[in-house]
Amino acid sequence: MHELLGMAADIISIFLFIIGGGFMLIGAIGIIRLPDFWSRLHAAGIIDTVGAELILTGMMFQAGFTQVTVKLILIGLFLFVTSPTSTHALANAAFTAGIMPLGMKRNESDKVLKPAPVRDGVKT
């Protein structure tokens, strides 16, 4: 019975690792492939949320009901709360600096369209 449970946990965590690792790799490919900062933001979002959380959950199934799982849950919770905050801070800072998406289809913000700056984008 005990072995059976262990095997089930193994299978579940392998499954979660495969999906999480797949999302992580896709996010990394997106970070390389996508054309500009704004679109890369979404690829990084995939790594930070789905990839990281799924892999952490996979590790939880390996750890079982121990203190390690408590720590993993805390890490997961912390990433869940902070990653959107830092993504928003990043997007907001870029927006304030006047970086605009490449080939924007629709713009409902009050800012006027400007070509994306070549280097650094910070007005010094």
Binding site: I31, G58, A63, I75, S86, R119
Partner: protein, 98 residues
Amino acid sequence: MFFAILLALMVTMLLVIIRLFAGPTLYDRVLATNSFGTLTVLLIGLLGFLTERPEFLDIAMLYALINFVSTIAILKFFRYRDISRGLVQAPEEEQRNA
């Protein structure tokens, strides 16, 4: 199992380092560093499991915390050009900066 996922993690890390090196804008670099921090958290956790000593997760937790703080510090620095200033600016300061 842990080895395979660690290898996937390594490939991801390499791609993120390439983006960090290539830029081109400052914000791309901050984005890559932030993602790299998340990947390091996972790396430390998985390394603990690989060597069968998962008690080291404390460091992973510390990294998750520090990564967030340093990202916010960097962005704050580039938005306000100063780290010691409070996040809420007085109206007169805002006007002076505009």
